[in-house]
Every structure is written in C-alpha cells, then in structure tokens.
C-alpha cells in the first residue's frame, strides 16, 4: 500500500495479457510506465495491439493477465478469469475514437452535456455554459444546436474531443482519430490535439501519421507482436531507432510515403 502511494507514474501497465478467444493473443506481457505530463504516441504494424492497448486502458476490454494502476491507485486487474475495473478511476480517463461515435439523435450541445448532467449531476444550465465555452474554443460555437449528421468529419471529431473534455479527464486517449477523415480535414483535428498538448494534457494515442507523432509526442512507443519493442523520445524512435524491427517499420512507412 505504501509503495503504491509513492508511485509517481500516471499509468503503470504491468505484464498485460489480452486475447480474443483461446487462439488470438493480442497483448503478450506488455509493460509501460507513463509519467504525469507525458504524451505517449504508440506506433506499430496493424494487429500489433496498439488500439487494443488503448481500449484496455479505457476499461472497454476484459484482460487475461496483468494489472494497470492510475495515479498510484489500482485500476484494472485480472483476477483468475474475471477482469476487475474500478469504474471510479475510469471516469478520470477520456477517449476519442476513430469513428467519432457521437450520439446521432442528440444535438452537439446535448452530446456534450449528457455525461456531465447524468454522471456528475451537474445542473443543465451550467453544463450548457461550459459546453458552449469549449465549443467556442474549438471554433464550433455556431454548431451547438446542429446534429452530428450536419457536420463534416473534422467537425464531428472536434465535437468528440470537446465531449470528452467536458468531464475534465486527467488522461486523454486518442485512437487513430484522424484515420477516417478526408485529408483536408486532418489538420483542424490535429491542431486541437496540439493545443491540448501545449496546455499540458497527458495523452496516449495511436496514429499512423508520423509527422503528427513527431510533433505531438514527448515519447514514442513502438509496439509489435503484443509487446513493447522500443520506447524513447520521438527523435530517437522515429529518427534513429535502435531495434531492427523498429527500423524496418519506420523505413517501410517512409518508403510508402516517399
């Protein structure tokens, strides 16, 4: 207990194992220690477990082994066959998904206020005021009463980020949030994330955009075969990787791009 409370990590992932069914093992003993204020970008080949890792950290998946602590508190653990998730700790984490996942039957403002009103019991008027303020910050004040189907992909994704921020998360997870966007809409979403980064928001993200990874990350983790292969500052992992597998991956990514 004493050791726990002195834990300086924001997220500590220990020996994480996760599979789907008996034959597919996605994460095979993964260890990551993320310090407060870090911006971790996870890169790696498809099927290497990047998105699964984020989903596990969000508390969306069962795990088969290992544990995760958050700010020194036990958060997720595998207890025999059962996964135990502390839902109070989970509320401190926000996530944005590849496919927006806005609530299509609710207006933009209602999307933002649903959780604060229903989870925290915030008065509607106050939540709406905060919601409008966040939308204004994101240049979306005119869209408060629009429905998601009336927005562009970039606008939807910015609303999704705003919705997550309404709950004042201590960690933001971004799972390939620009992958579904038309190329000309990517920048507006990345700008919002860069602004959050500049304000010191801790974040963990998966992206295939190496330019963005280099600009936003304070640390890059190369994940393949369900384990961490290489872990270091962006200049090193993206620019001069030590591991052969990382080098191969980076070469291939830039080859395709070039």
């Amino acid at each position: 207990m004493n050791a726990m409370s002195r834990d300086t990590a924001l997220v500590r992932i220990t020996d994480l194992h996760k599979g789907y069914g008996p034959n597919i093992r996605v994460l095979r003993g993964l260890n990551i220690e993320m310090k407060p204020g870090e911006r971790v970008v996870v890169i790696g080949p498809s099927g290497g477990g990047k998105s699964t890792l984020l989903r596990v950290v969000m508390g969306l998946e069962e795990i088969q082994g290992g544990a995760i602590t958050f700010a020194g508190q036990p958060y997720i653990s595998a207890d025999g066959r059962k996964t135990r998730i502390d839902t109070e700790v989970r509320k401190k984490i926000g996530m944005v998904f590849q496919h927006y996942t806005l609530f299509p039957h609710l207006s933009v403002l209602q999307n933002l206020t649903l959780a604060p009103c229903k989870v925290v019991g915030e008065p509607r008027a106050k939540a709406e005021e905060r919601g409008r303020a966040i939308l204004a910050r994101f240049g979306l004040e005119a869209k408060a009463d629009a429905y998601p189907s009336q927005l562009s992909g970039g606008q939807k994704q910015r609303v999704a980020i705003a919705r997550a921020l309404m709950l004042d998360p201590q960690l933001m997870l971004f799972d390939e949030v620009t992958s579904a966007l038309d190329p000309e809409l990517v920048a507006e979403v990345e700008q919002v994330i860069l602004n959050l980064a500049a304000q010191g928001m801790p974040m963990m993200m998966v992206t295939h955009d190496m330019w963005f990874a280099r600009n936003v990350a304070s640390r890059v983790i190369f994940c393949a075969g369900g384990v961490v292969v290489e872990d270091g500052p962006p200049e090193q992992v993206l620019g001069d990787p030590k591991e052969e597998r990382t080098r191969e991956f980076i070469d291939r990514v830039f080859h395709i791009k070039g």
Binding site: L60, R90, H99, T101, H105, K118, P148, S149, R163
Partner: protein, 221 residues
C-alpha cells in the same frame, strides 16, 4: 359480360362503414401490437434466459403459423378453454395484436442490434451508468431506426386484417364479399374493394421510402 360500376354508388355507405371498421381495427392493433412488440423485443435482447426464451418461443410460433389459423384458434378454441364468450371484435383484436407483436418485436430487436457496439463504447468511455446508456442513448436510436420498418409492419397488418372477415367481422373485406354475393357483381365490387385497400396502402408505402431515406441520413453519424 357487361360491367356496371354505377351499382357501387348504392353500396358506398356500406363500403365506407367496412373501411372504417378495417381502419379502426388496424389502428387499435398497431398501437397494442407495437407496444407488445417493443416489450418482447426487449425481452429477446435480455441476458436472462427465463425472459428471453419464452419471448423467442412466442415470436417463432406466431411467425411460423398462418394468421388465419391464429385467428380461428382464438375465435373458436380460446372461448372453449377460457369458458367465456369472445365477441368477434375481441378475438380479432387479440389475434391481430399478438401477430403484430410478434412481427414488430423482430423489428425492434433488429434496430436494437443496429445501434452499434461503438455507441456502447462511447457510453462507457463517458462513464454513463447502464440505465442512462439504455434510456438516453440506445433506446431512442433504436426506436428511430425502427420507424421505417414499423410503418411497413403497419401496412402489412392493414392488409392482413382482411382475414378477420373469415370470423364474421364486418370489415371492408366482409362487406365487399357480401355485396358481391348479393349482387352477383364480383368484378365490380371486388375490384372496388381492392382499389380501396390500395389507395390507403400505396401512399403509406411511398411514405416508408421517404422516411427511410431521412432516418438513414439523420442517423449516419
């Protein structure tokens, strides 16, 4: 053979009464049946087998037997078992409500499923309690998604309701048949009856197509 459609004018009032009865019965059974279908749809999505299995058996039974035999069974057999007389309106209402319940439950079940796994993930990521997930996110979307198919179900019921003439209910079909038999003018009368069903059902089928397009656009987010 000479056709004389003018004879229909003599029976316009009777046909109107029959159509009125058909519409009343349809609306009544749409309201009762969709409510039942909604509840059965929820029951079939339940994780509890004691709720799910009986609901599924009910649906499969009603989907797997002709409406006519359901109607006859309720009209002739149910009174014997219960030991009470059932008016033909009551038995027709029960039969069509149960039938409508069975088919709309499938509609609701499909629309519940169509609200994707991703919406649930978003709810979890926002920390929404299960109750809020269901009442504020899943059910409203499921109901909206169900609207076009429900309208189709209503049109089917409107047409199937002609079967109640077989147990002597004075609906459009029954009155049409009577007039046809008494006047020996089946071509004129039965054509007119078919036309009356069509003028009600056709605009509704057009409406389904339009509503479907709008719903899909609205919910594609």
């Amino acid at each position: 053979m000479s056709l004389d459609f003018s004879i229909l004018l003599k029976f316009a009032d009777a046909l109107a009464l029959g159509l009125w009865m058909t519409l009343k019965l349809t609306v009544l059974c749409v309201v009762l049946g969709s409510t039942l279908g909604f509840l059965i749809g929820l029951a079939r999505a339940s994780e509890n087998a004691l709720i799910r299995v009986p609901a599924s058996v009910f649906v499969e039974f009603f989907r797997g037997t002709p409406v006519l035999i359901q109607l006859f069974w309720i009209f002739f057999c149910l009174p014997l078992i219960l030991g009470v007389e059932l008016s033909n309106l009551a038995s027709a209402t029960i039969a069509l409500t149960l039938y409508m319940g069975a088919i709309t439950s499938e509609t609701f079940r499909a629309s519940l499923r169509a609200v994707g796994r991703e919406q649930m993930d978003a709810c979890t990521a926002l920390g929404l309690p299960r109750r809020v997930q269901i009442t504020n996110v899943i059910l409203p979307q499921a109901v909206l998604l169900a609207v076009p198919t429900l309208l189709s179900n209503c049109i089917s019921l409107f047409k199937e309701s002609a079967l109640v003439s077989a147990v002597g209910m004075a609906d459009l079909m029954f009155i049409g048949q009577n007039i046809s038999n008494n006047t020996a003018r089946p071509v004129e009368v039965l054509t007119a009856v078919a036309f009356l069903y069509f003028v009600i059902a056709f605009p509704l089928t057009r409406l389904v197509t339009r509503v479907e397009g709008r719903m899909l656009r609205k919910l594609a987010a």
